[in-house]
């Protein structure tokens, strides 16, 4: 694709933008069915896509509470990660002293295996959604802080000089110069964090819950109901994809000034 500077994507570009991944996916699913049928693999080891589909449809309305639980927790943890991440980034960029305190703390928090803490969260925060939200938040927030801090600090010296000539106060500098400068970076952070938030929610549910798609996978595994587990995984992926797509869409709407880049995978490359 060679739309390096133009704003518009041609129709054929758009077709390959959406068409190619869909075709790839369809090919993989067909291959999967072919392998399962050809080698007559037992259903509890690897069911074919058709069986998975049938199981998913039969499960019907039973999905609703589980999907809602996982979506709510992932979105909540993601939301908290966004707010806390951006606020921490603002503090880090504005205060050298606080940055010296916060930066190592944040890095240590990222290095410590948070998932290993999940069982402890059950003890600390009790059963229920809270410990799962905490895990989700902890997994998702690091890329938010890092990306937002990089973006907020990236401002050129000349822009700061302009701000001083216009006698802007720190709040106006933050709002009308630093924040717009940081926005592309913040969107990069959102993309990574969104995928992590979904993973975080599932892991949290693995450790302790009585609802949600993660919980459902555990139950299905215990019953050797592999088709149901795979159907749950497919739904989780679908949700992750939808969240990611929503962010990409929001990015396109809020950054009309950003020249269209060549591929479309530049955002995925960041992940």
């Amino acid at each position: 694709m060679s739309t390096s500077s133009g704003r518009t994507r041609s129709a054929s570009d758009r077709l390959s933008f959406f068409g190619t991944p869909i075709a790839t996916l369809a090919g993989l699913v067909a291959l999967w069915q072919l392998v399962v049928s050809l080698f007559s693999i037992p259903t509890f080891i690897l069911p074919g896509p058709l069986v998975v589909w049938r199981t998913a449809v039969e499960f019907g309305a039973n999905w609703v509470p589980h999907v809602l639980a996982t979506v709510a927790i992932a979105l909540l943890g993601f939301g908290v990660a966004i707010v806390v991440g951006v606020l921490l980034a603002i503090i880090i960029v504005h205060s050298r002293t606080l940055s010296r305190v916060l930066t190592p703390a944040i890095v240590i928090m990222q290095i410590v295996p948070k998932i290993a803490f999940a069982p402890l969260f059950l003890i600390w925060f009790g059963l229920g959604p809270l410990p799962i939200v905490v895990v989700t938040f902890l997994v998702a927030f690091f890329p938010m802080v890092v990306n937002a801090a990089v973006g907020l600090a990236e401002i050129e010296r000349d822009l700061l000089d302009l701000a001083r000539v216009l006698r802007l106060n720190w709040w106006k500098v933050l709002w009308s110069i630093r924040f717009p400068t940081a926005l592309p970076h913040i969107f990069g952070g959102l993309k990574i964090a969104s995928t992590l938030a979904v993973i975080g929610a599932i892991i949290g549910e693995f450790v302790g819950s009585n609802r949600g798609l993660g919980y459902l996978i555990l139950i299905a595994n215990n019953n050797l109901n592999t088709p149901l587990a795979l159907a749950a995984i497919a739904l989780i992926s679908l949700f992750g994809l939808a969240l990611y797509a929503a962010i990409v869409l929001l990015e396109m709407i809020s950054l009309p000034w950003k020249p269209v880049e060549a591929g479309g995978l530049e955002s995925v490359a960041q992940v």
Partner: protein
């Protein structure tokens, strides 16, 4: 001509400290600009012209000496200041018109009249029809003209211009210069104008200050005694040629 002194530098030095060491950019420089005077600054690259403007603007502190604007020491940028930076410094997430209006918005003065004014300034710099473009859709010279319009929006009484026409072709450059003179005559202001072009400085300025190579000091001050209003046709006047060759001598350019 006994006008008030608008800008005065007394024995001003400026030293930058960086990780790799110290750079003395300006050394014991003294100069004055009267109220409503058009002063051009000429000098080789790296001699401290931008540094001098930034000290007058209150962006870079002098490490020795005094910088006075209207008799007061400069500690921070004054309200009546307009500045055209050496690079356009546009906000790339704002359209052209919103870039020009940014100073008004930042100071809470954006209204319909301001918008009219911004449109008039865009017409003046030849960018009618580009109001809604984003900076990445402009050429270097167009971006520079946007930043000129932005600097003029709030009608500053002190205008500091750092090679504002550097990225323009010769013809547009002269047109813009003449337009600038017209604005300067309509709304009197003091202008410090950094340029690399000797003939541009002669065409526009009341006085040309030639700086030495770094650390910058004043090598010469030449009063341009050409009549006003100026126009491009004055280039053919013998006096114009004389002034150009005087400045060439001062700059050490063999003719």
């Amino acid at each position: 001509m006994t006008r008030a002194v608008a800008v005065e530098l007394r024995g001003v030095s400026c030293e930058y400290r960086t990780r790799t060491g110290r750079v003395l950019a300006v050394e014991k420089l003294s100069m004055q600009a009267s109220d409503r005077e058009f002063v051009a600054l000429l000098g080789p690259s790296g001699c401290g012209k931008s540094t001098l403007l930034k000290m007058v603007a209150g962006l870079v502190p002098a490490t020795a000496g005094e910088v006075l604007v209207y008799g007061r020491p400069v500690v921070r940028p004054l309200e009546s200041l307009g500045m055209v930076f050496q690079s356009p410094v546009l906000l790339r997430w704002r359209t052209v018109i919103n870039n020009v209006l940014f100073p008004a918005e930042a100071t809470g003065r954006r209204d319909a009249a301001m918008r009219e004014r911004a449109m008039a300034l865009l017409r003046l710099v030849g960018l009618t029809g580009f109001e809604d473009k984003y900076p990445h859709e402009l050429s270097g010279g167009m971006a520079q003209r946007v930043s000129l319009a932005r600097a003029l929006l709030l009608e500053p009484t002190l205008l500091l211009m750092d090679e504002p026409f550097g990225a323009l072709d010769a013809l547009t450059r002269e047109e813009m210069g003449i337009e600038l003179l017209r604005i300067w005559q309509e709304q009197p202001k003091t202008i410090l104008f950094v340029t690399h072009s000797i003939s541009e400085s002669v065409l526009l300025a009341d006085r040309v200050i030639v700086m030495t190579p770094r650390p910058g000091r004043v090598a010469a001050e030449i009063t341009i005694d050409l009549p006003r209003p100026r126009s491009g046709r004055m280039r053919v006047l013998p006096r114009f040629g004389e002034l150009v060759s005087v400045l060439q001598d001062e700059m050490g350019i063999a003719t």
